[in-house]
Symmetry: C3
Subunit: 428 residues, 3 copies
Amino acid sequence: MLTHADNELLCRVGPATPMGDYFRRFWLPACLPDEVTLDGPPIRIRILGEDLLAFRTSDGTVGLVGDHCPHRGASLFFGRNEEGGLRCVYHGWKFDTSGACVDMPNEPAESDFRTKVKAVAYPCQEWGGLLWTYMGPSHLAPQLPQLEWARVPADHRRLGRWIHQASWLQVLEGDIDSSHSMFLHRALDPDLQQRSRRFGVLNDRAPRLSVQPTDYGFVYGGRYRTVDEGIFNWRLTQWMLPSHTMIASKQFPVGGRVYVPVDDEHVNIFNYRYHPERPLSDQELAFIETPLGSPRRERSTLTLADGRRVDTWRLLANRDNDYLIDRDRQRTGNYTGILGIQEQDKAMTESMGSIVNRSQEHLGTSDVAIIAARRRLLRAVRDLQQGLEPAIAAMGDAYRVRSFDVLTSAEDLQEVVAKHQADLVAIA
Amino acid sequence: MLTHADNELLCRVGPATPMGDYFRRFWLPACLPDEVTLDGPPIRIRILGEDLLAFRTSDGTVGLVGDHCPHRGASLFFGRNEEGGLRCVYHGWKFDTSGACVDMPNEPAESDFRTKVKAVAYPCQEWGGLLWTYMGPSHLAPQLPQLEWARVPADHRRLGRWIHQASWLQVLEGDIDSSHSMFLHRALDPDLQQRSRRFGVLNDRAPRLSVQPTDYGFVYGGRYRTVDEGIFNWRLTQWMLPSHTMIASKQFPVGGRVYVPVDDEHVNIFNYRYHPERPLSDQELAFIETPLGSPRRERSTLTLADGRRVDTWRLLANRDNDYLIDRDRQRTGNYTGILGIQEQDKAMTESMGSIVNRSQEHLGTSDVAIIAARRRLLRAVRDLQQGLEPAIAAMGDAYRVRSFDVLTSAEDLQEVVAKHQADLVAIA
Amino acid sequence: MLTHADNELLCRVGPATPMGDYFRRFWLPACLPDEVTLDGPPIRIRILGEDLLAFRTSDGTVGLVGDHCPHRGASLFFGRNEEGGLRCVYHGWKFDTSGACVDMPNEPAESDFRTKVKAVAYPCQEWGGLLWTYMGPSHLAPQLPQLEWARVPADHRRLGRWIHQASWLQVLEGDIDSSHSMFLHRALDPDLQQRSRRFGVLNDRAPRLSVQPTDYGFVYGGRYRTVDEGIFNWRLTQWMLPSHTMIASKQFPVGGRVYVPVDDEHVNIFNYRYHPERPLSDQELAFIETPLGSPRRERSTLTLADGRRVDTWRLLANRDNDYLIDRDRQRTGNYTGILGIQEQDKAMTESMGSIVNRSQEHLGTSDVAIIAARRRLLRAVRDLQQGLEPAIAAMGDAYRVRSFDVLTSAEDLQEVVAKHQADLVAIA
């Protein structure tokens, strides 16, 4: 449960909001690298409530600039991507990837004032198969997070991006909420149950959940009973500030997600699967292409409520079609009648409303990680409001962690973590 | 004419509004019984601004619960209707029709706190071929209104439900406004005129209208000239609090409507036709199926302005297609060029805007019933604001009334009512 | 650059706004005459935020009345156009073109109060091939502007109307912004370049621009270098209050536009082409029908954000389809990849957002006319707020001006204007 004020504090992410400022202290994924082609058209992205355009110049550099031309506000989306810059088609002003105005051809030479004009522009880096940007004060630019999936060679991983129509936090919370798997993602028919084992859906529906704070967020552990008395299946995962999650398994390839707020009511999901030590096999890649392996989605230009259009991917199962729920399937096929793990998650988190009213919740011990994450975020945001910069932003190597699962007689999380410290560290 | 403040007072019906509180003192139709099937999927209903789900358990009981799971707010619409309750597919919490949490399977036994959790739930009763609910304080639950159409056997009546995109009050006002029939619903060609006589469309376009207050609302009378000097056709109907209307005729089957606000800007219409003494004949039922007998409509899931989806019926003729107006038909076929009585009414009341600006009206003697109803509602709402509960809510038998029409030399309404008291009383 | 307050002052045009009041001092085009047919259905127009209906009576008179019946607010759009008036189909009240209630058939004779009821109504005049209206105080009604294109015989001109989804001012500003032509409208392939010469697209991309104030607005001149040293191509055009523009050319047929705000976020464009001395030739008319000659458009009923529907024309290339931009065409065909001059303009001005944020602009010498127009409008609006009526409104003959272009050695605008005073005056 959160007060309305605390809920607003965590969910509002636009310019000059406390949570927006906090996100602006980290490198954030913006899009997939192949969405912007050499000298190709810019794509429209909204991040933290700001409308931006990503484009790739002839030499491969990626620019991320504000949508509106600083001259009179026409959209640079219609612009020409020309030799190192984006040129507005209204009057031909050209901006390089740093936002500098490098040509102002409609002004006579003596009145050219290009040096006084600067487009909004944010630095971009390709890292781990994604394009990342940093939207905060330049003197505070942090290290890139040294996530294991980002450090491995490209053929060790598979990445995807799509949009959810809900606040970033409630979508992220679904990932630090182990107990829902045994319900939401449960298969009912034998065939589906067989296949769903791949996702580690176990039979203990009420695991003991606990959290151990770390520099970078927390380790989150679920203790599941097994058929052997006194032996537990411990599943450990990690939450890394501000919005990195991973699935609790040591069975590679394993997956996870990074959440980047589009605005207060939408979030971009960057989904990864990777193997730390070898390329993904043909069989693994084939599975990833199935509906159970990846959500079925289409490249789509969405018109947001304020009329702005963004280029993204949209799941075929969405709010407008009730996530293609099939009530017959729900009776005999799987628990929800909705196909696909990600689609099931989406149905839940979007159906809460754009920004869920957290003052009406009833949280239990199963929500321990959610409670811990909110507290941590509230503290971090308030620290920043007081002028205390987030230390973690400077510690790229702190992100070299892993999820893990093990059979053990250990009863509490501290004991498991102490015993298996090495298994929680990334090798790549 | 109403001040802006009074207009707001009558049109705002959400939780904690004065008019919303007033409606919450009455049993209100929620949906048709066959919309919820044994163990079938829940349907989404909005009543008085609250998002609810109706579902029918294995034993036939109907539950009406809040849309959002009390745990973390996921929609129970995606839930599983299982043995006496609706189970959230997120974490398996299950709620019975009273809103009690009867299972909390994702919590370990020692932390189970189901007794502390209660879903929003409202009592439901099947009555008169509709499902009714009561959303007010339980200790004030009133009697069901003993409407004649509700008391007759099922084969004596025919019922329908659909939605209008306008405030409840302006749609209801169309039913206590006799003089519009001679215009809006007038047929122009001989064939249509012949058929429209079934609806009692007469030739006096300026009837004398008067109102006589009653416990339950008022009797409303229209005095129409006839071909015989000194003989009037008196048509009497009744308005019952808060929103019951009927067509003024003693020719059975006769019809009427009950209005239940969806929210400030939408209303559910429950339309009835019935015969008090015998089943509807095959011929009558066949007529009801024609476009003149019932509006052409389709089962539809509408997405409301705030993104919420509701399951309802939508008329095929609606605002988006200008009610299928045919200007040629308007010249020679009927007065409006729009087919169907209900469609014609809908075009008028929706075209006023979602909430009509009543401060700019020019009311005449033809609007006497509308003026009387507003005054009565304002008084009732203000009484309730002062703590005076509506007496009528406790008087179910007060609703045992009828409409009526007669040829008589009586000049005023009091005289007609006095002479024909018995005809205004229901027999069923 | 404008402050937020000044921007609001110029862009808000509804009833009782300063700019709205200013526009209400002028005759404004409302629609094309053939949109309203003898005894035909009314069409829905929004002007300056007011919802109106235009209709033509049996004798050819055009009425422009408020959408909502003064009785109870039903839309007169569904009304019957009958012998000199529009009759509401709800209760048969009839209004003539002056807004007088001329029939109130649902009231008994003794309570008829038609003389107390007046519908909103504005005077209409057919002028220059358009229907014009005046929405200001009747005692201040000005002369019709004696624009040359309006004074010529009908076969000397061609007119069109369509809607843009942006504030009137930013769309108008595109017409007093000469330097964009050399970019936005530039053809790249030889064939297109050849054709685009018709629009006077020259090769000097940084003309010297200057403005000379006049009674009616200003003369705006662009000085373009030519292949001959010391010889300039001067292109002069005129801006007339409140929103008349023309293309700078003496090559007839020449065109221009009149802007009439629909509301704060939409504008109706009235586009003209004319020859002052002779009918347009078959060849000219054929060209006008091509995509380069006129924007491809369709008769369309648009539903505005508040649910109101308006009857207008919509360009096939619009915001929802990114103006049919073709990135391949943009590489080799024309500068934007968008087909059509008007479509290119629309893409720019709409992409700024509904009301562009002028506090973030960076204006240069190329924006001299835009700066001058804003200053002039701000002064005029403030004068009116102080009670000083716009003198120009009374001076219909002041509009008898022309655009012009010439090869000359004159260096500044005053010199050109002085030398060519006669060429800037209309002859028709």
